[in-house]
């Protein structure tokens, strides 16, 4: 338990009944969660090692209710922790004892589909996958696809600027949102952007996306929807070394191919998933790539032919080119099961740094050394096209000290990502998890500038206040 939370404000804790009564006047009774049992469901998120029971939880069902709740709580000086589905791996939605959780999960409707303009207007509590589900009958989809997409909300995606496996071609959340309705701390409702391209004035929409619930609560969004490609098929390639796999990725991109997915798995990740999913992955290679391309059948064949030709120049040992949907599913089966399979054999923490892809072999070697130093093991799963690294550090939570060792190794891996020119977090966000590492990546003047901008929206630091910025050295309004 190395991450600190600020001490709760006793004056707020003492006024709990009064605050609950105030909230009860603003929302339907079922929207207010007060009992300890029910609040337990909200005490953590995807970073389950850390838990704090919130003062109360409100689940409004309209922008107007969110506005009323925000106006009331900010007027009372009560901290607010915004929440989508609570899947954050960075602890972005973990509450604190003197804060009220304001969740948007009950606001999950599709408001408008406009295929002609390729947009969808949704309430922010809708799940990521439900957007694609709502437009799939017209062969459209919403592109960013974080691996939690079945559960995570677009509100949370906007908060964290979530990515996914297809970012190289389709970008991340910020590239796929045209507008939002946002409630400011004092209850004011603003529209940022709209259904048109490029919002007017300063790019406040760009600032809000990825702001981790510190600037306001997004209640609705207009998202870009895209017509799906005619088809997509992967090839699986096994290599004798990470260097060969890395050089192959560089050559593919160098020749002008932009695969829609370019996934890397190392030997341990292959072994773990093969033991669980029996996807037929090669066990005699040190590194494996899954490369997926899109288009018509003939276009796919031609692109995969080029990919294989390049791979053959880089000592490829195993080549499996999918010819059918069934073969594609078999190739993806293992990769998609990677985290779950790892969870079956061990406790693990999933890191999320990004590195310049040219540094891959060096970084993998140093990750191995860092984890070995702690006496642990690591499986590497990696979005190789964009450099987003997900080392899974395996440990045994029942062995005293192992979780601390894993956290220490994780921190060192993130420092390494910054050292080689990358960043602390590629798609999960800072939350509490990487909050205290921010000075590895930023100078004081960098952080101070960000905090001064934060102060414009929340001068009293009531919105998700324990996140993103180190607790010491804060620049207050």
């Amino acid at each position: 338990m190395s991450i600190a939370f600020p001490a709760p404000d006793p004056a707020i804790l003492a006024r709990r009944d009064e605050i609950l009564a105030g909230l009860a006047r603003l929302v339907h009774p079922e929207a207010l969660i007060a009992s300890e049992d029910e609040r337990r469901a909200f005490e953590t998120d995807g970073l389950t090692a850390y838990r704090r029971l919130p003062l109360a939880v409100v689940l409004p069902s309209s922008t107007a209710e969110v506005s009323a709740v925000m106006r009331y709580l900010s007027g009372q000086g009560v901290k607010i922790v915004p929440r989508g589905a609570g899947t954050s791996l960075a602890g972005g939605a973990i509450p604190q004892e003197d804060a009220v959780v304001v969740g948007v999960s009950k606001m999950a409707r599709v408001l408008e589909l406009d295929f002609e303009n390729r947009t969808a207007r949704v309430e922010a509590g809708i799940t990521n996958l439900a957007i694609s589900g709502a437009v799939g009958h017209e062969s459209f989809f919403y592109a960013p696809d974080p691996s939690s997409q079945l559960a995570c909300t677009i509100a949370g995606n906007i908060g964290m600027n979530s990515g996914g496996a297809h970012c190289l071609k389709y970008g991340v959340t910020t590239n796929n949102i045209l507008g939002v309705t946002m409630v400011l701390l004092d209850g004011t409702v603003v529209e940022l952007g709209g259904q048109h391209l490029d919002s007017a004035g300063l790019d406040l929409l760009g600032l809000v996306i990825g702001s981790e619930g510190q600037l306001g609560i997004v209640t609705e969004a207009t998202v870009r929807i895209l017509r799906a490609a005619e088809g997509a098929r992967p090839a699986l390639l096994g290599f004798p070394s990470p260097e060969d796999a890395g050089a192959c990725v560089a050559a593919i991109i160098g020749e002008g191919l932009v695969p829609v997915a370019l996934e890397y798995m190392d030997k341990l990740a292959i072994e773990i998933t093969e033991g669980f999913a029996q996807a037929g992955y090669p066990l005699d290679v040190e590194a494996m790539l899954i490369i997926e391309v899109e288009g018509s059948d003939a276009e796919i064949d031609e692109q995969l032919r080029r990919v294989v030709t390049i791979a053959e120049r880089h000592r490829v040992k195993t080549i499996r080119v999918s010819k059918s949907e069934a073969e594609s599913a078999a190739i993806w089966k293992g990769r998609k099961a990677a985290f779950g399979a790892t969870g079956r054999i061990s406790d693990y923490i999933c890191m999320d740094g990004t590195i310049p892809t040219g540094q891959l072999p060096l970084v993998l070697q140093r990750i191995g050394e860092i984890v070995q130093r702690e006496g642990l093991r690591v499986a590497n799963v990696f979005h190789a096209g964009d450099g987003n690294l997900h080392p899974l550090i395996l440990f045994d939570i029942n062995k005293p000290g192992e979780m601390e060792k894993a956290e220490r190794a994780g921190e060192d891996i993130l420092r390494l990502c910054v050292e080689v020119g990358g960043c602390l977090t590629g798609e999960h966000g800072v939350g509490i998890e990487k909050r205290d590492l921010m000075r590895c990546q930023f100078d004081e003047s960098d952080l101070a500038q960000q905090m001064r901008i934060r102060n414009v929206f929340d001068p009293a630091w009531l919105l998700n206040p324990a996140k993103v910025f180190p607790l010491d050295g804060r620049v207050l309004a």
Binding site: M160, A251, V258, Q441, Q450
Partner: protein, 395 residues
């Protein structure tokens, strides 16, 4: 008017700190080719990035290029072309429209969020911009983002600086994501469609699985005799051939031509750089309007009821370039009243200084957004020395 041309970041910091201490307003500039966009400057000095030049990072295999802010755009584009790559957002060159001289810089591209026809498919400049270094109004250097395309560490000030027109910070270095240059490009030109039919055709093309990278419409008289609806495909030759065939089938009932090669490049350069209204051809006021693509022609219909004007469309109908007499408010009130119905925003990109002083050049802000905009400006530039009033009076 004096121009300060710092040779490195430290000199830039010193120049800004000195100006801040003396409360001396600064116009921020790269090559100065877009100085005539915005409300007329209330500045005595120009702080120029012209001497901050040179590519600082180029990794073709990582699809990333970084350069000091004053690096000529042409140099960045040539560097990329030498490895078969390009800036995917196809930045507009404003010189023909504004009749300005000088070299556009890569920092200017970022500061003005300049995108061209491919924006409809590949995103705006701000979508490719992944890292910045800048000097804030306190004379401190600030960095944000970086050289990797997936980066969610801290607040995204990269987006905020992109398109801030020199009002928030003095950019010293920018990093862009890049993509391969397509092997082949081809354009289907449908002749003689009216505006509603053209909007529907462009929607159908953009909603197809063929990754159309340009969809523009020139009304009759602007680009020749009959109206032209232009639909562009780019990519590997085998792919463009196949997709072109599919689109021809989709539009088999239309009178259509295929344009390729140099003619195709020139066609889209004309759309990108607003050639129909170029200085020397036209002395009208020119508006740039972003609206909902299928509502573009409703917008022009509303405006044309009360204002004599000409226009054409890019971005599938969502970007309207509109020219009208540079008199009075240059149609501002009517244009913005029309936008209240269709959604979107309008920027007066070309007009005499006295017109730009009298009307809102950028879309007026609602009160809460004006408060946030002023607050953000103050947080970056507390004394208010950077291009003050360029976007909004008093900010």
């Amino acid at each position: 008017m004096t121009t300060i041309t710092p040779r490195d970041e430290q000199e830039a910091c010193a120049a800004v700190a000195e100006a801040a201490a003396g409360r001396v307003p600064l116009a921020l500039a790269g090559g100065g080719t877009k100085a005539a966009i915005g409300r007329p400057a209330q500045t005595e000095r120009t702080l120029s990035a012209a001497a901050l030049s040179g590519v600082t990072l180029y990794e073709p295999a990582e699809l990333v290029i970084g350069a000091r802010a004053g690096t000529p755009l042409a140099e960045v584009e040539q560097t990329l072309a030498s490895r078969g790559q390009q800036l995917t957002f196809e930045p507009i060159d404003y010189r023909p429209l504004l009749g300005s001289a000088g070299e556009p810089t890569i920092g200017g591209v970022a500061a003005a969020n300049l995108s061209g026809p491919r924006r409809i498919q590949a995103g705006a400049a701000r979508d490719s911009l992944i890292g910045v270094r800048f000097v804030n109004g306190r004379g401190e250097t600030v960095k944000n983002g970086g050289r990797v395309m997936k980066n969610v560490t801290g607040l995204d000030l990269v987006k905020l600086l992109g398109g801030s027109w020199g009002t928030l910070g003095f950019l010293t270095e920018v990093v862009f994501k890049v993509l391969p240059k397509p092997e082949r490009a081809t354009t289907l030109v449908l002749r003689g469609l009216d505006e509603a039919a053209a909007a529907a055709a462009m929607s159908a093309a953009l909603g197809s699985p063929y990754e159309v990278t340009g969809a523009a419409y020139l009304p009759a008289g602007l680009g020749g005799g009959a109206s032209q609806t232009m639909i562009r495909l780019e990519g590997f030759a085998y792919s463009v051939d196949y997709r072109g065939g599919e689109l021809r089938r989709l539009f088999r009932r239309n009178d259509l031509d295929i344009v390729e090669g140099e003619a195709n490049t020139a066609l889209w350069r004309g759309v990108r750089d607003v050639a129909p209204f170029a200085a020397g051809i036209s002395d009208e006021a020119v508006w740039r309007i972003s609206t909902v693509p299928t509502k573009g022609h409703h917008f022009t219909e509303l405006v044309a009821r009360d204002v004599s004007c000409r226009w054409f469309y890019d971005w599938g109908g969502g970007l309207v370039w509109l020219a009208c007499a540079a008199e009075g408010d240059a149609g501002a009130a009517i244009i913005r009243a029309a936008l209240a119905q269709t959604g979107g925003h309008a920027t007066l990109v070309r007009a005499p200084a006295e017109v730009r002083a009298a009307v809102d050049v950028f879309q007026p802000l609602t009160e809460p957004l004006r408060r946030l905009t002023a607050g953000i400006k103050g947080s970056l530039d507390p004394v208010g020395i950077f291009s003050r009033g360029r976007m909004y009076a008093g900010i």
